[in-house]
């Protein structure tokens, strides 16, 4: 939260290019949880494809209240402009269930492919089921920690002067890391409504059942937001 405030002040001062965003979402996972979400974030771009991205979201419905927050750094290298290294942490909490999860990850991201983005990486996820500590974002050791392979594949299927439409297969997003045996896929769209203001929408679902060879739809998620890009 403090970082978000700092980034906000930087944006106001126009010290660095800052891209704030805000959005609303709805998520249903049958039998597990159903909730709306309010999310906000800020991205600051630096030279050589470097950037810092921070976000926070709250739940409306199941697990009402703070849902989680995330911070990610993107590091480019001038001599290898097609490769970015993403390093980040995520905290998620389920207030009704009194448990949380902290994640740290790295992702190697290929950026030079035309109409495609590809990323591969690894995350450490640490479940926190201690009722007294589940809200603490710095707990990364304990009995329920595990490694998680990350993948991200996104392709642009339509691009105009003001908008774009893409398809993705990815188990990592700003606030979420899915287990490797779930296959999140979806559509992402963006459209510039007026100068500097861009609408962004994501619709995502998952297939689960790989470990049983009995497949069923998992969750369904939709997000709609707006981004200010100078």
């Amino acid at each position: 939260m403090r970082l978000m405030l700092i980034f906000g002040f930087l944006a106001l001062a126009e010290a660095v290019p800052v891209i704030p965003d805000i959005g609303l979402g709805y998520r249903i996972e049958p039998g597990v949880e159903e909730k709306g979400a309010v999310a906000g974030g800020i991205k600051i771009r630096f030279k050589n494809n470097a950037a810092v991205d921070a976000g926070v979201y709250g739940n409306i419905g199941d697990n009402f209240g703070l849902g989680g927050y995330a911070l990610k750094g993107e590091f480019g290298c001038a001599s290898v402009p097609w490769l970015n290294l993403h390093l980040g942490v995520q905290h998620q909490e389920w207030r009704d269930w009194r448990c949380g999860e902290n994640r740290a990850f790295f992702l190697l991201h290929l950026t030079g492919l035309k109409r495609f983005e590809v990323g591969m990486g690894v995350a450490w996820r640490q479940g926190v089921f201690d009722r007294a500590r589940f809200r603490e974002p710095w707990v990364f050791t304990g009995p329920a920690g595990e490694w998680n392979i990350l993948y991200r594949l996104e392709g642009l299927v339509l691009e105009t002067a003001r908008g774009e439409l893409g398809l993705f297969l990815s188990n990592i997003s700003r606030h979420q890391i899915h287990n490797p045996q779930m296959f999140p896929f979806g559509v992402r769209a963006g459209y510039q409504v007026v100068p500097h203001w861009r609408l962004a929408a994501t619709c995502q679902s998952t297939v689960k059942g790989f470990s049983a060879l009995l497949f069923s739809p998992g969750e369904f998620e939709i997000e709609l937001g707006v981004r200010y890009e100078k």
Partner: protein
């Protein structure tokens, strides 16, 4: 691109052939909500009468119908020599979920001792899998109280998910504070720091279930599916993954869990078939 797609399709086909799964059943099996509601309409098995001190066993993944056979004969000898009162079977009782395999499973298992089963993914691998399970064994989701202090809770994770109705039922049944609670199902929640794909799929579902077990001070969560012995304790709840009873599918430490109940106390040990 086209060759890559063909390669992926070939790999998927090989997986299905290798696992002997019915492709239609992979997508059109009765879902967990339907199975759980039908389980609730069936009578739970009667509790075995026991004394103040008794032993019972827990194992999974028998895979009756798999050609190489299993360790049931060794287990039967242990039942006789140790005086095991009853046993629990954590799914994948059959290999293909056919009526003939269910008949064979009932005859083989019932000849050993009284038993309590729940369902696994292989038990749904034929069009009549769930119907045959119900007719042969009864419900897959139920709770029974053994003696005055022990509650055994069986639930259905045959396709790697819990579902709304079953979550609500678990919240009710786990709220009992007067008994020692043991939970039995097919899928693990957690299987170590380098996880395989063979555990509950959805992260939030795992978090919700883990939280339920911790909050309600469950003594142990016993499961199978990965065909290897694992033991972890997560915030006071023991996660015990028993090995397989099938020789062909053994990926380490075949055997069973042997629980000893003595008055108000309970303990367990793993009995290995690597003798």
């Amino acid at each position: 691109m086209r060759s890559s797609v063909l390669l992926v399709l070939k790999v998927l086909l090989l997986i299905f052939i290798g696992c002997e799964a019915d492709l239609k059943e992979a997508f059109f099996h009765p879902d967990v909500e339907k199975r759980v509601k039908e389980s609730f309409a069936l009578a739970a098995p009667a509790p075995v009468p026991v004394g103040d001190t008794f032993e019972f066993a827990v194992f999974g993944d028998v895979h009756i119908g798999k050609a190489a056979g299993g360790y049931l004969e060794e287990f039967r000898r242990d039942v006789d020599s140790l005086g095991i009162e009853f046993f629990c079977v954590l799914g994948d009782i059959t290999e293909h979920g056919t009526g003939a395999e269910y008949d064979s499973a009932r005859n083989v298992l019932a000849a050993i001792a009284p038993f309590y089963p729940t369902i696994g993914n292989h038990d749904l691998y034929s069009a009549s899998g769930w119907e045959d399970f119900k007719q042969t064994f009864g419900p897959a989701t139920y709770a029974i109280q053994i003696g005055t202090r022990l509650k055994l809770i069986f639930f259905d994770t045959a396709e790697g998910e819990v579902g709304k109705t079953q979550f609500n039922w678990l919240e009710d049944v786990l709220a009992d504070t007067n008994t020692t609670k043991l939970v039995f199902t097919h899928f693990p929640i957690y299987d170590g720091t380098i996880p395989g794909p063979f555990r509950l799929a959805a992260n939030s579902e795992r978090a919700k279930l883990m939280s339920l077990l911790v909050r309600n001070q469950v003594y142990a969560y016993c499961c199978g599916h990965i065909h290897g012995w694992r033991q972890t304790t997560v915030d006071g709840v023991q996660h015990l993954i028993v090995g397989t009873m099938s020789r062909a599918l053994d990926f380490g430490s075949p055997g069973y869990l042997l629980f000893l109940v003595r008055g108000d106390s309970i303990s367990w040990r793993f009995v290995s078939f690597d003798r």
